[in-house]
Amino acid sequence: MYATTYHKASSLDDAVAKLGGAEDGKFLSGGQTLLATMKQRLAAPTDLVDLTKIPELKGITLDGDTVTVGAASTHYEVHSSDAVKSAIPALAALAGLIGDPAVRNMGTMGGSVANNDPAADYPAALVGLNATVHTNKRALSADDFFTGMFETALEEDEVIVKISFPAPEKAGYEKFRNPASRYAMCGVMAVKLKDGSVRVAVTGAGSDGVFRVPEMEQALAANWSPDAVASITVSPDDMIGDLHGSPEYRAHLVTVMAKRAVAAAG
């Protein structure tokens, strides 16, 4: 790792000020991606501004039909939260599939979402559940937040404060894990919201990051069953191809995981 200067932010304003004073600074949350990237010298920020001690970024609450997760909540906190388990069990289960137990004690939802790794799990959860990302500047729908592989609508000095999820009528997440990295080769979140709308979000497979499958959403709105999506396929042209799997393989996985996600949602 190249030399860097570590700062702890005490408030949102303090975080923005410290980043503004840095030559090439980065916000740091749990660090389970950023520190690993810095160790490989693939990133070399001059300054790191640790967000995890900012009070507004802490805590998970259930208010009526809305679950709100502070951005600095760890994957383990999301996985074990009574609020998440009761209102959105599929989200609690998803958080328990990220990395491994030790990684889940450090990595955070805000950090993962801001990084928008195309194989991360949370992007599918946010888009599938129609979550809202609240920053220190504005509120963004998940559809507007994720803009491409490792790209989001966040500005340089914009901090994710919390993420709110409407409790769905039913939701299921199924993931085909890369057995070495535990990242998703393909993960599908299938959701029926309480207003009756259906959303199907896919991570791990798309070459442009998380994406929705409108044909599956329409089919499930008419008939919520695994059979409804069994014959709907996505084009390999838009899929990732790498040493772990070809675009055709990933396109096939999307349909298989979608069927399983619908079945898991019940």
């Binding site: 137990p101 004690n105 450090m106 535990r182």
Partner: protein, 161 residues
Amino acid sequence: MTKVSMTVNGRAVSGDVEDRTLLVSFLRETLGLTGTHVGCDTTQCGACVVHMDGKPVKACTVLTGQAEGAEITTIEGLAKGDELHPMQAAFREHHGLQCGFCTPGMIMMGVDIVRRHGASLDEKTIRHELEGNICRCTGYHNIVKAIQAVAEGSEVAEAAE
């Protein structure tokens, strides 16, 4: 250089380190606690697992500054004098190691697995929970047996209370 302070194995410690210093380097090189190992250095193998405020973390992917003020427990902090921690004793009893390199991380993770699952722990769960700890010698069999034995022992202890 920045001065950092934390509690390691019940003892208040501090040191002047570069900001890029990883917690595992601080433990091994500044404090001389070389029981915590560096295996892969890429957050995968788990040889560097320590407990930070009671939860296992991979010390090769935590900056020393992130651990400022925290309570850290390493493998050196488990035994009470000459008396091994039950997990250490179980690894010895069941021969849960061959070369021993992964053992500190396995034991720290094993302690946490039993704490979270208690007596309900079964073999499948143990194997799943060990997904972030890699052993290249044993095939995991005796490691799993050792952790299972401690979990079953906790059942006996609870029944006795």
